[in-house]
Amino acid sequence: MGGLIQNIKLIGADLPKLEALREKGRNSFLSQGLPTAKTEAWKYTRVRELADDDFVMEETCGSDCSKEHSSCCCQGKCALPFDAYEIHFCDGKLREDHFHLPEGVQALPLIDAVAENETTAFLNKSFEMQNFPFAALNTAYLEQGVFLRVESGVCLDKPLAFIHHSHGGVKRFANLRNIVVLETGAQATLIEVYQYSGEAKSEYCNNIVNEIFIGRQAVLRHYKIQSEALKAVHIALNAVKVRENGLYESFCRQKGANLARQETHVVLQESGAEAVVNAVYMMNGWATLDTTTDIEHLAQNTRSNQLVKGVVGGQAKGVFQGKIHIAPNAVQTEGYQLHKALLLSDEAEVDVKPELEIFADDVKCSHGATCGELDAEQLFYLQSRGIGAEEARQMLIEAFVDESFQMIKDDNIRHWMKSF
């Protein structure tokens, strides 16, 4: 396990605060170790792959690096079919250090933001390391990522997209940390795409932490596609804090990786704060795809809604752990959660763990989980009209997940995410 703590040179070693934080991250990870079957938060999702000692933490090369990457094979590979501000990462490293964004939007490489003391109020402020071993590990390697701030009242006119490409070859372990701050009344759409170039069987690991701070009346819409190589590991935490009447709305589509976990931890701190956390996961083979959510309602009049749909074939495994916590004073809150899974084979598996912790009266709260197969009557009906068996199955699978995709209000983004 010590294999993931490696002595590599990180940029920013001259920043004492940063070095101290990295040290805390190392210690926190070492004291926790990798999660095992006995770790409650990870009981369904095993991370055996990561126990191998052969992952490599790569040092960031010098100033020539960006030139090298500008001719990278993956350039232009993920052209979004709509207009967006794009920030590219290659194998977990930022490909550029200047971003062209409109006035009122500030974006810096994380290290630059730390150096300029922009991150003091935000870095490692959205989660407790002792509950998140991979976020602790991520902290030990703080270096790569973006600090984004949308100033008060500014509405970003186009989505901002973090586009990630990973390559095969080295069994690379990349750590990424982004900080997103929306000041009062700001609005933005953030897109994250993770995909690979080269071998479908490339082995690598991306460990991502996004710290998101949503101010009063601010709105962040956050869309993510995880389409990593089939043997890759992808572990992501979105740690979100939402203030009065702010809204965090997310949709994550997972379709790649051999082991992936999307964890979303939202704290609704003040009255009127709202979270919408929707997801679709679809996979075959032997993959494990985990969707874990934890919504904390700390104030009155807060709302949360979750719809997660999974389609699992082959010998794959889907995991959904969803927690809604309502604090004693968080009256008149609403928290809803629904998970629906479709199993396409006898060996496919879905593990579901919903948890409601309600300490307040006068709340509306519900959770539900269903698990089923394709409907034989519906299949017969489609086939009896001349539609081929495979096409009919595909239509029914698409119909099953369509309800989730309909939650994406923007037509361009919805079409893109559906057809990706």
Partner: protein
């Protein structure tokens, strides 16, 4: 001389352990409309499902030829593409699948099989809207998911619309009148009658004679105990309406 379209010879079939179709024989020639009437539970719906290949039914013995080909060896979709269409008694609802998208898939699958070019979206929409209009199906209904929230009458009109655009050689109507008021029944019957053209054949399965006032059959067969016990012309239906099925069920004992 008309050619036989559907030939069923000594068909035996079961659902689970129970033999339901027992020695069924029937030949339907091109352009003919046959009605099969029988008491509830006689296996009328089973017959329609077996012919269309619905899973859950096992053929014990017998032959079925459709246009001279072995029907029973074909998949569900092959039977449909060859020109067999079933108006279902209880059409299933399919949330998330828009009616027009579903219909376009079906129409083009069948056109492809017939060696006809696929219709593009514009041509298709135009054709479906025009057909829909004559059946009282508006554009709003076409945009909704397949059968979702449709009344009994709307579902049957939608079945009729599908039949009209898919242009089958042989249509089986399984209790097409169940759940319909008289106005809806007329609309469906008119839709069906509009498709009678001297080539296309129909097998109308019904419990009541009422439907046969609107879709007048060339032949009427009484189905009981898993096979045809009596055949005649349309007057047989009137006779059954008067006397009921009692004399045929008695045979069972």
């Amino acid at each position: 001389m008309t050619a036989p379209l559907l030939e069923i010879e000594d068909l035996h079939a079961r659902a689970g352990d129970k033999e339901i179709i027992k020695g069924f024989n029937l030949t339907i020639n091109e352009g003919e409309v046959h009605a099969i009437m029988g008491p509830n539970g006689a296996g009328k719906s089973t017959l329609s499902y077996v012919l269309c290949g619905k899973p859950g039914y096992e053929i014990i013995s017998g032959n079925v030829r459709f246009k001279g080909k072995d029907l029973l060896s074909m998949s569900i979709e092959e039977r449909a593409r060859e020109g067999l269409f079933l108006i279902m008694q209880y059409p299933v609802e399919i949330p998330g699948v828009p009616t027009t998208a579903f219909l376009k898939h079906a129409v083009n699958a069948i056109r492809l099989h017939r060696g006809e070019p696929e219709l593009d979206t514009m041509e298709f929409i135009k054709m479906v809207r025009e057909t829909g209009k004559s059946l009282g199906i508006d554009n709003e209904m076409l945009k909704r998911p397949v059968n979702v929230g449709f009344s009994g009458g709307e579902k049957k009109r939608m079945e009729t619309l599908q039949m009209t655009v898919l242009k089958p050689d042989m249509a089986i109507l399984d209790e097409a009148d169940s759940g319909l008021d008289i106005d809806a029944l007329k609309v469906v019957a008119e839709g069906v009658n509009a498709l009678r053209n001297g080539k296309r054949s129909m097998l109308v399965i019904t419990h009541y004679q009422r439907l046969l006032n609107y879709i007048v059959p060339d032949f009427v067969h009484v189905f009981a105990n898993g096979h045809i016990v009596k055949s005649g012309n349309k007057n047989l239906a009137l006779e059954l309406e008067e006397k009921g099925y009692a004399e045929f069920i008695k045979d069972k004992a």
